[in-house]
Every structure is written in C-alpha cells, then in structure tokens.
Symmetry: C2
Subunit: 450 residues, 2 copies
C-alpha cells in the first residue's frame, strides 16, 4: 500500500492517490504518513477527503503535526482545527512550541480559545486535562422528542451523543440519561422522569488513573467532570480512558524496571533522553550495591579462612533474594494499582507472604542442598561438606523469607505515606534484602564453621 | 454504609435495606456483598430491585456467584439469567463446576443454550470467548425510520444499540452504521447510503490482546466477530476490551517478575497457588545463578592471589548488569506489546541500545572509579590502587554494554520465533549477562594484575 502510494506520488497521479485513500482508516493513514519524508507528508495530507483530515491529523506524532502546521496556510489550519474535538486540540497544543501554539489559538474561535486556556491551567495528569466541553446538555422538563431535536441539531459538534447530561439553570449536574433509554421511551416522556440522578462524576483535579479506573469499574461510555459546586465543566470519553489505562500500565512497568517513564514511543526517543531516564536509577542502584561490597570486605579475611567455597555462593544468594523480592513487590504493586489491595490489608498480605516464602524457601533450600552435595561435590569435585551445604541452604532460606517480607511491606508502606510504590520498590528492596541476607550469611558461616 | 446495612440486617428491617440499595450502583453493591457472610449474601441479594439484580450478579466473584446459584430456586436463577447478556453468562459458566453449569443451561432458553455451547468450544483467550450475539442487525434497504422502529422494539435485549451492523440475506457483514449517523440523517434516508462499508472486524480465533488493541487503535465502541465467510457471528463491546487490556498488562507484568500469571486477585489466591506460580521460575533462576558460582570457583584461587578486594566487587557488577539488562528488556517487551516495536526494527534498536549503553557505562565507570579510589581507598582504607580501580571500572563498562545488547536482542528474537518475549526475558538474560560479565571480569583481572 505504502509502495503503491509512493509510486503514484512520483508519477504525480494525485487523483489515483485520492481514490486509494478513501478506503483507508485515518489511523492507518497516519501510520503511513509517519513513514514518509518531510516533503511527501504535506502533499499526501492535502489529498485526504475533508471528512477525515482532522481524524488523521490527531493520530499523527507531534513532530509530524508540527511539520504540517508549519506548512498549512491559516485557512487550512482553521479547517482542521474546526473539525477537531477540543480535548484533541489541547493534546496537540501541549506538545507544540510557543509560536505554534500562538498560531493555533489565533485560528480558534473565541469560545474554544477561552476553554483551552482554562484547561491548560489544570494540573498535569488530572481529569481537567482530558476533558472536552462538547457534550449534550438537556433540561429535565424537556420531552424525549425535544431532546432528539436538540441532539440532531448539535450532534455533529459533540464528542458523544450516547450519554447526555441534565443540568439546571446554573449548569449544576442533576442527572444523566443515555440515548438508549431515550429510544426505549415514547416521544412524550419527560427527561426528568427517566434520567438517572445518582451520577458517577469526577472532580477536575482527580488523578487520571482514578478516572480510568472508574470507567473500568462502572463500564461507562463517558464521565462528567464537575467543579466544587457540582457544576459540569466537561466530559471525558471512553477512548481517552483506554489510552490512559495503557499509559499508566506502561508507566508502572517502566518504574518497576528502574526507568523514568516517558510518553514518547521508544523508537522516537533520542539516545540522550533514554540515557537521562535510566542513569539516575542505575547509578543509585550501583552505589547501594557497593554496600554489599563493604560487607564482603569486612568479612573477607574471615570467610576465606573458613572456606574459599563460601564466596562462590554469594551471587546465587543475592540473585535469588533479588528475584524472590521482585516476585512479591511487583505483585503487590500491581494489586495496589488495580485497587485489589489496600494498606488496610497489610497484615493479611504479610501473613500470606510469610507462608508462601517459607514454602518457597524450603523448596529452594532442599534443592540447593542436594545440588551442592551431589553435583558440585561429587561431579565437579568441590569440597562441599554436609555442614557447608547445610549452612548455605539455611542462609538461602533466610534470604528468601526476608526478601518476600520486605518486598510486600515496602510498597504498602510507600502507598500509605503517599509515595508511588512502583518508584520506591526497586532501589530500596534490593539494597535492604542484599545487605540483610549477606550479613546473615556471613554470620551463619562464622557460627557454623569457626 | 456496610455497617448501616449490617445493623438493619440484624434488626430484620428489610424495607429499609431495600431503600438504601436503590441508591447504590450494582458494582458497589457487589463489593459490599463480598464482605458479607455466606448466610447474609442471599438475604441481601433477594432485596435488590429486580432491574439491577443481574447487573450486580455479574460483578460478583465466582465463589459468591456459586453460593447464590446454589441458594436460588430455578425460577430465581432463570430470572437472573434472562436479564444477563450472553457474554456475561459465558464468563460465569467458565468458572462453575459441571453440576452448576448443567443447572444454568437448563434454565436458559434453547437458542441461548445453543449459542453458549458454540462459544464454549472456541480456544481460550480468543475473540470467540468474549463475544455476544445480542447485536442490532439491519438491512441495507431499510430507512432510518424502519431501523429506529426495529431498535426500539429490540433494544432492551441488545448489548449495545450505538453501533449497528448491516447484513445481507446470508448474515454476511456488509456494513456498519452508528446510531449517531442515523440521528444526523432524515427518517427517509436509506441505510445503504449512509453505512460504512470498510468495517474493522476480527476472526473468531483472533487473540484477545489483538482485539483489545483494535479498540484502542480505532477508538471503537464495538467490534463484529466474523467467520471465514465474513458472516457475523457476534460482537465484542468496549467494556470487555478494557478488561482485556487490564488483564493483558497484568499478565505481562507478572511474567517480567518471573511469576506465572493468574486471573484471580492476589488476596483470593491460596498460598499453594501462589507457591506454584512462583517456584518453577525461582528454582530455574537459582540454578542458572549457580553457573556464576562455578565460574567463581574456577577462578577463585587466581583471584585471591591477585587481590582479596576483587571478590567484593562481584555483587556490584552482577547487580548492575542485571539492572541494566532489565531496564532494556522491559522497555523492549512493553514496546513489542504496544505494537510500537517490531522485529524488523532489530538493527535500529540494537544500535540505539549500544549508544545508550556506552553513555551509561561511561557514566557509571567514572563514578565507580572515583568512588573506589576516593571513598573506599582514602576513607575506608581498603587498598584500591589506580590499576585495580581502573580494571573494575572497565569490567563494569563491558558488563553494562553486554547487558543492554543482550537485553534488547533476546525479546526481539523471542518474538520472531513466536515465543512470548515476557516469559523468555527474565531467566535467560540474567544468566547470560551474569556469566559473560563474570568471565570478562576474571580475565581482565588476570590480564592486568598478574
């Protein structure tokens, strides 16, 4: 497809390109345009049918959007902006440099411009930054017929007509009625009689992760955003909630891998940006890992006098502790994010993890003991005596139990003191578990072998 | 709220409870019921207004649902089932033991029963298991008015009326028309003239992760599921797609932490189940970590003769290698899951990671070198000479670069050979990176100090 269009471009067969584009969805056209050169993008974009130009524009990357805006005449820019919903316009503006933003605002009608400037003031990652003002507003004394007439007249400008909101004279939200409900009632039915009064809504400063969870929990199509007086300020629709869910999961995953999260897709990130997102954590973790070095140096002479084989098991111990801790911390962090676990469950969780860790620790210790005695000793010929193998196995047992208890407590405590569990987990858990397990290992070695 | 209802229950003030329940959403009632005793649940459930009984039932946990079904009379069971959409009925059936399933199917009408039995045959995690047959079916020669009449008559039984599908006489999918489009046209407009013919659809055996990604990509409200002859078999709605997105992210997160994924919320999992999901991976990782032990034993005598301080840095090296590898592998795995990275980007990704890793490695090596010389040497008094510190820093440099190159290549190669990158990543990357970096460290030490 790309190749067909490329060929037609070279032959300047624009009418043919237009015909091809009619059958492709805006999202796919946007992906195609991303692969084209800076010179080709504006040419092909101008060949798009008017109805899908704005839909395609909003799907493109910020860099491509900036390129296009710089190529557009004022009239072209205005035409695209008029067809965009305001939450998408805000998304574009947030990625543009000041001079482009100025141009965009100049081509927007005064009411929209006022709205956009209001929205840009809301805190980052809040409900306010996701919403649009293009919702259907009904009055409770209207009939279904009057509402339908209203919807037909204004639908083309509304982000959604499937969920309508009922307000009083002061824009206070008093109810919600779905198009489905209206269709199931006669034309003369009064809205006030069929509307739902217990409406799920969010505040303008609600966290976007919370907003997305409300969509997921109540299977909503749209959510109204209200101010402190319960006046409706805007709505958020389910497609934006899905994007938020995806972004939030990506954010948590990044932080659990000790990387500062980024909105930009990986292939679009510069080497410096990636370096910047990774180096602080890697540095922090390296420095905290040197504590283990200090502990080893402290015990070094003692350990080598007891048995040179003691050092060989240190990486295995530390790795196993780290993995055991991650299994737990990642599970708890995800449970916190999905609202399945709360701080009040602390004792339940710790008790569960203690039991699981004892079972795991026993399984691992037995296998470790057997392996050292039978394989390393008999086959490879290293002098792992029963005593030595047993102490290593016991150290492993302690390591796994400590790792899991620390791994479940730290995220819960972080949540309690309003820190992001995903950020806190990685560095602290590794450091604490490594240090504790090493100290215990060295002390057990001394106690048993000396 | 819970406490109020508990008190009213004890005082047997059922009418009061009914009044309270009217104002609570089904999802919240379900959460409340989960906290109640087995004796209380059926009592409170029977007090629910009929309109929300089914909505509440589908939100409850499988255990609670089983409890209720066992308490229900056949008539009560039938009443709830009749109000449920078939995709929810299938979800319930999938969690019930055989005798309960038999009872459910007995209380279902023959057409629904036939449908359910068909759906249960589809592969696990496929589109077929998510769909429902309760969609609006229009004909292309109908007018908008005729379509509205049809919708009004049947809407109460449809999962969604906002997206309607146009089929020919043989149920072949020929178009799609939204309720919005119909509302924006006059009553006499013919459906065939306003319908969209290029319809995004999925096959019955499409992976559910792919289905969810289509919702996200095309901002859909519903997707039709078709068979090989493009005949519509059912539809999937956006609320189910959101649940799939959440589950798929949880699954990937679990696998990256070396835990077998589970559908059940953590607090509902038994200790044995958790042990079973963690032990194979922990065991595998522990055993692969013992390779490092073998390598250390091989070089042990050599290393201690060169300098006892060499052992102290091993944990720091291995940890940093592990963290550096994770940063990369997790980023690439997530990029693959979101369709932002593909196998064809292999060289682009490897080249990017090489550059990032060199920058990171240099940053870390310099800090490590400085720390060993200035802090460990001058302050703590360990004999880290310039030569020793330099060789440790160089080993660290190699470690980080290797970790990141391995960390980005393995997930991409896994994807290419159709293995799940998230499963493959953790064990293999750690093992390979640990072994390689240790071998390099020991060899550099020998080369420089011997």
């Amino acid at each position: 497809m790309d190749q067909d269009i490329r060929n037609l471009l070279e032959e300047k067969k624009y009418a043919e390109i237009q015909k091809l584009l009619k059958d492709i969805k805006p999202q796919d056209i946007a992906l195609m345009l991303e692969e084209m050169s800076d010179a080709e993008i504006p040419i092909v974009f101008r060949l798009l049918p008017k109805e899908i130009a704005a839909d395609t524009f909003v799907e493109m990357s910020p860099d491509s959007q900036k390129l296009l805006i710089n190529c557009f005449t004022d009239a072209e820019l205005k035409a695209v902006l008029d067809d965009m919903f305001l939450d998408d316009t805000v998304d574009v503006i947030e990625e543009m440099p000041a001079n482009v933003v100025k141009r965009i605002l100049n081509q927007t009608d005064p009411q929209s411009r006022k709205w956009i400037n209001e929205v840009l003031k809301y805190p980052k990652d809040s409900a306010g930054t996701l919403m649009t003002m293009e919702y259907v507003n009904l009055k409770k004394d209207w009939t279904v017929k009057q509402s339908f007439d209203r919807i037909r007249k204004t639908a083309v400008d509304k982000e959604t007509i499937y969920t309508c909101y009922v307000t009083d004279g002061t824009r206070k939200l008093i109810g919600r009625v779905s198009l489905r409900t209206m269709m199931l009632n006669s034309y003369e039915t009064v809205i006030g009689d069929i509307m739902e009064t217990n409406v799920i809504s969010v505040d303008t400063d609600a966290d976007k992760e919370f907003v997305a969870s409300q969509f997921s929990k109540y299977d909503l199509n749209a959510i109204p955003v209200v101010d402190k007086e319960n006046r409706i300020v805007g709505i958020i629709t389910v497609d934006d909630a899905m994007d938020v869910m995806e972004d939030e999961a990506t954010e948590d995953i990044s932080m659990m891998a000790a990387v500062t999260p980024s909105d930009t897709p990986y292939l679009d990130q510069s080497v410096w940006r990636i370096w910047l997102n990774r180096v602080p954590w890697l540095m922090l973790l390296m420095i905290s890992a040197t504590f283990t070095g200090l502990i080893i140096n402290t015990y070094e002479a003692t350990l080598s006098s007891l048995s040179p084989l003691l050092f060989a098991c240190i990486p295995m111990l530390m790795d196993t502790g780290g993995n055991a801790g991650s299994q737990t911390s990642v599970t708890i962090i995800r449970g916190l994010a999905l609202d399945e676990i709360h701080f009040k469950d602390l004792f339940k969780v710790v008790w569960k993890e203690i039991r699981v860790s004892v079972l795991l620790a026993l399984s691992l210790s037995v296998v470790c003991f057997g392996k050292l005695l039978l394989i390393d000793n008999l086959i490879f010929g290293y002098d792992y005596t029963v005593k030595l193998s047993a102490l290593i196995a016991v150290a492993l047992l302690f390591t796994v139990v400590i790792a899991k208890v620390v791994g479940c407590m730290l995220p819960l405590l972080a949540k309690k003191v309003k820190l992001d569990p995903a950020v806190v987990a990685s560095p602290f858990i590794t450091t604490i578990v490594d240090a504790l397990s090493l100290i215990i290992y060295c002390n057990i070695s001394v106690a048993v072998l000396a």
